[in-house]
Amino acid sequence: DAGVTQSPTHLIKTRGQHVTLRCSPISGHKSVSWYQQVLGQGPQFIFQYYEKEERGRGNFPDRFSARQFPNYSSELNVNALLLGDSALYLCASSFGSSGGGAKNIQYFGAGTRLSVL
């Protein structure tokens, strides 16, 4: 079975531009989460979606937005890019449930490396 797939793998943008990152979850998973990982640090939570509804939002500016589609794939959008947005953007999927537990264990894709010049 395919794991979490992300596209593109690498992206170079300039300051002020807009970027869209895409993610396809593991088949059967209904929850998708997005994380930002800066070099040398642990991933930081950006968004979580479950059944197309936003379930959680991390401490990121409104320039960051996301959505989940009926097929459970997801997009992360970042507007007005800043140099500090350069990072590895990770998508993770899980079965997801309101009851917590093992169904919320997340599996990650390989990430999209975003460089802002």
Binding site: F45, G56, G58, S97, N104, Y107, G111
Partner: protein
């Protein structure tokens, strides 16, 4: 504030030795504790996960020990191999929505 603290920041172990990485959390709003392994340029890969009502879980050479009263948990890698050289992250799953809170990471180097 939800936090997971991880130590050490880096670790050097000889081949065949035991690697030990420790984590501590600050509140009880977590209901699952996974460990991830990450190689340079790759996404984190799930290694092993434990529920807070279990004191130990073993999968192959990897063992998680969990101390609920002390709010601490650790990863032991037995018979460490050069191929285990990677960055390891402990994490906690928020029981309200399922988001992951990560530790700062431990860069493990296993010397042949």
């Amino acid at each position: 504030q939800q936090q997971v603290k991880q130590s050490p920041q880096s670790l050097i172990v000889q081949k065949g030795g035991i690697s030990i990485i420790n984590c501590a959390y600050e509140n009880t709003a977590f209901d699952y504790f996974p460990w991830y392994q990450q190689f340079p340029g790759k996404g984190p890969a799930l290694l092993i996960a434990i529920r807070p009502d279990v004191s130990e879980k073993k999968e192959g050479r990897f063992t998680i020990s969990f101390n609920k009263s002390a709010k601490q948990f650790s990863l032991h890698i037995m018979d460490s191999q050069p191929g285990d050289s990677a960055t390891y992250f402990c994490a906690a799953i928020d029981n309200q929505g399922g988001k992951l809170i990560f530790g700062q990471g431990t860069e493990l180097s296993v010397k042949p």
